[in-house]
Amino acid sequence: MVHHVAPYWNPVLETLPRAKLRALQLKKFQRIFAWAYENSPFYRRLYQEAGLEPGDIKTFEDIRKVPQTDKGMLREVQSRPPFPYGDILAVPLAEVTAFRQTSGTTGMPVYQADTWQDWEWWAESWAYILYAQGYRNTDRVFMPFGYNIFVAFWAGHYGAEKLGCEVVPGGVLDTQARILKLQELKCTAFMATPTYVLGMADAARKMGIDPAKDLFIKRITCAGEPGASIVATKKRMEEAWGCRVFDHVGATEIGAWSYSCLHQQTDLHVNEAFFLVEIEDEKTGAIIEEPGIPGKMIITAFDRLGKPCIRFDSKDVICWSDVSCACGRTFRSIAGGVLGREDDITKVKGVLLAPTAIEDVVRSFAELSYEYEVVVTRKADIDDILLKVEINPGFEGQEERILSQLKDQLRVVTNLGYRVEVHPGGTLPRYGVKAKRFKDLRTKE
C-alpha cells in the first residue's frame, strides 16, 4: 500500500513562502551560532576573537560578519583534546555515536563526530532528497558501495529506510555479483558515483546483460563526483540504464545539502530549511544573490550539533539558477550543480580551466569510452595538456576523424589546445570511488 501521494516529503517546509523561509533561516542560524558559542571551545575562541557573541546576530548582514571556517582549521583543531576530533566538539565525547572521515585526498583526513540525533538528521536530509527523486516505499533499493569509514552512501541507506524502501546492502560483493543481485531481486533503484554507474553498465554488458532491458532499475541517485549534473555524462548513464539519473551533493563535514528533483535536469535544489548557502565573490568577498554569477560556497548546517558546521568554506564553486522549478518547491536551485572546486579550477596556458568542461566534451562522443585522463605538465615554461582517451569497439579506423572533431570541440569549449593519445579499450584506470582523472604535475617539476 502506498501511503504517500504528495510530491513533497514535507509540504510545509518545501513550499514555505520565501519571506518565511528566510526568517526561518535567520532564526536557525542564531540558534546554531549560540549552540556552538556555548558548547564548542573552538567556535567560542573564533567568535570571541571576532568580537561576536550570540546576541549580535540579528540580520543576514550580521551573519556575514561571522568568521568562516575551512578544512585546514578542522584539521588543525584535531591536535587538541578530546581525541580524535579536537575541541570543536560541542557535546561530551560520550554522546558521539558515529565516526566517519574525509578521504584525505587533499591532506590529513578530517574526522567527523555525529551524535545519534545527528545521524537521524542525516537520514532526514536524505529523505528529502530521495522523496523528491521519486523514491517511495514500493522501491527496492540496492546499495553497491563499500560500507566503511567514508560517509559515501551510508546516510542514503538510512534515508531510504526512513521512506519505507526495502534496502539491500551490496557492500562486500564484487561488481559482477552486484549485477546478478540487482537482477535476482528485481531492484528498482540504486545509488553510486557516476564512474561506478558507467562501470557497472560496462560490466553488465560484458556479462551479456543489457542494463536498460534486462534489469528493472527505474532511478539512480549519484553522489561523490559531479557527473550527474554534466549533460554528456548524465545522458550516457540514462541511456545505459534506461532510467532517470539524479544528482545529490553533500560532504562529510557538511551534510546532504543539495539534490535534483523530478523536474530538473542539471539544476539542483538547496535544502534551505536545513542549510544556509551563501555564494561569495572570490575577489570582492561580497555575497552574490543574482543568478548566473559563480562564486565560492559558504555553507552552514543549521541542525548538526555534535560537530557544528558554521560558515564553512567548502571550496566548491557554484552559482544560483534563474530557473523557477516546476516542482513548486520554494528552495532555490544552483545551476549545473557544483561547477568545480576552487582548488580544481586552474590556469593552464594562461586560461582558466575547469576539468568538468573536458569531461562534458569527451563524454559527448559516442565513439569514445567513458574513461579518460588528463595530464598537465610544464616543459620549458610552456604548459602541455595530454588527453588520453579510449575508442569504443566498432569505430576502429576512424581515429583521425574522431580525434580531429574532439580537438576542435575541446578548443571551442575550453579555448585550449590538447595533445590526444588513443589507448586500447579498457586500459585507462578504472575507479571504484572518487575518480582522479585530472593530473596536474606542474608543481612537481
Binding site: 510545509v12 513562502p17 519571506a19 526568517a23 532564526k27 540525533q117
Partner: protein, 57 residues
Amino acid sequence: MIDRLDEKITGLRQAAQDVMAICGSNEAVRRNIIKIMANIKMLELNISDIKDLAEVS
C-alpha cells in the same frame, strides 16, 4: 494545523523527558528514550520550528 501538530509534538517531548527523569540507571530505557528524542527533534525541525513565523509575510 501547524499549531495542533506542534502541540502534540511538545507533548511527545514532555513525555519522553518525563520517562528519562524517572528511569534511573535503567540503560534499556535511557538509551531508547535518547533515540526517541532524536526522532522528536526531527518532528520539531519539520513542524515546530515554523510555528512562530506565522506573522512573517
